[in-house]
Symmetry: C2
Subunit: 235 residues, 2 copies
DNA sequence: ACCTGAACACCGTTCAAGT
DNA sequence: ACCTGAACACCGTTCAAGT
């Protein structure tokens, strides 16, 4: 009789207890992150979005840190997929393609910069991406040590630059692009107001800064790094 | 009479109200950061250390974010001082010297990576360091645009790499080096356990990873970037 | 000018208990 | 196996009031 009621509940009764899955949890987390950034992703907000209580989250994840790591890694699956065909061309060109794909993903999702590629033990896609980059470097026929250094440098540069650019402006606005332009204009004005004798370099490049595009800036830096790598590889 | 009492209080009576200064606030903040990392720096912990209430902090600083920014920047004064004599030699060598000084500072204080050089509007020393790096790049006789890109690349690489290396391990230990070695050993073991067919690169460099030194790794990457810059400058 | 007291509106995390 | 309820021990920030 108890069994019968049990079955009836399972079959017909409206679920009173919400039930998720790790995929649903991470998808909801990414949704919140996209809307309100890392600051907005609270355990409680996530639980509310999933229709349950905060404690339920801890069944899927050990804590907020792991949640952030896994959410970031889940998004990298898309990047990995985008570059799945890369690997047959010139190694340096392939490296550029992969790095740009990663950068673009972080530009789309500024919160990614701080959590992507942090722990390859836990983050499967981060590890696969690291491997993928490393495999291109391997084709340059360098020593293991040089391979290791080259790969680390590329990853460090991509994540570092992207994280820096993806930072929320001091005023902490998580909205449209009007604010971004305002921020740039404000910073430019501040720079122009500096003493030219004390800040010759800043005055020298302030016009470039005023009109710069993050993507161009990233690519220019990446090309410097890749030029150095090509030089080291002697090809 | 009220004035008289006022004076007496000021002169002779034991102060019941604690009084600080922005310097004292930042010094205390740096102390907490060094001991317990960014997570440990709460407004309340800082107030307690200063012997006052949490609200008093807000007289000196607009909030926790600004506190972190200013604390980080205050530490960069030391770096700036360490490189004050740099600037007369080969531009690329000078750039390396400055970059290594910054890196070393962040290795000493892992929390620095996330807050240094974030907002040159508010962070005076960050701005001066950016200027200093830029001035060396200027000596390479590149276009303003190339100067801007080169300088940004170096800063991005230093901060990015250092921030990545300075991350607290997943287990979040803020203590000695035995833990750091344990962490490295654990990660190495995980890598060795991966399928060699799926992860040829990781297996190719795992021995390097196991014995690597963060500083060497940083310098190797920096040299790639500087080699690219030198190539672009044609000297 | 600079600080206190006290509150407001949150947090992450835990754990016994339920289903 | 997976979730709820309810609590614990915190947070950052504000603001009237004091000195």
């Amino acid at each position: 009789m108890a069994e019968q009621r049990e079955q009836q509940q399972t079959r017909t009764r409206r679920r009173v207890r919400t039930s998720h899955s790790i995929e649903a949890v991470l998808a909801a987390a990414v949704g919140i992150l996209d809307e309100s950034g890392a600051q907005g992703l609270t355990i409680r907000a996530l639980a509310t979005r999933l229709g349950g209580g905060p404690a339920s989250i801890y069944w899927y994840v050990s804590g907020r840190d792991e949640l952030l790591d896994l959410a970031a890694d889940s998004v990298l699956a898309g990047v990995l997929n985008d570059v799945s065909d890369v690997g047959g061309g010139d190694p340096i060109d392939d490296l550029r393609t992969i790095a740009v794909a990663m950068f673009d993903a972080i530009v789309d999702r500024p919160w990614l910069g701080a959590y992507a590629m942090r722990d390859t033990g836990q983050q499967v896609n981060s590890r696969k991406l690291y491997e993928k980059i490393g495999e291109q470097v391997m084709r340059l026929e360098l020593s293991p040590r040089q391979c290791f250094h080259g790969t680390s440098a590329i990853v460090g540069f991509v994540i570092g630059t992207a994280a820096d650019m993806g930072q929320e402006p001091p005023a902490a606005v998580v909205s449209g692009e009007m604010d971004r332009d305002d921020y740039l204009a404000g910073a430019t004005a501040e720079w122009r107001a500096l003493d030219p004798a004390e800040y010759p370099f800043i005055h020298h490049i302030v016009d470039e800064f005023a009109t710069h595009d993050d993507r161009d800036q990233f690519r220019a830096g990446l090309d410097l790094l890749l030029a150095g790598l090509r030089l080291t590889a002697g090809r």
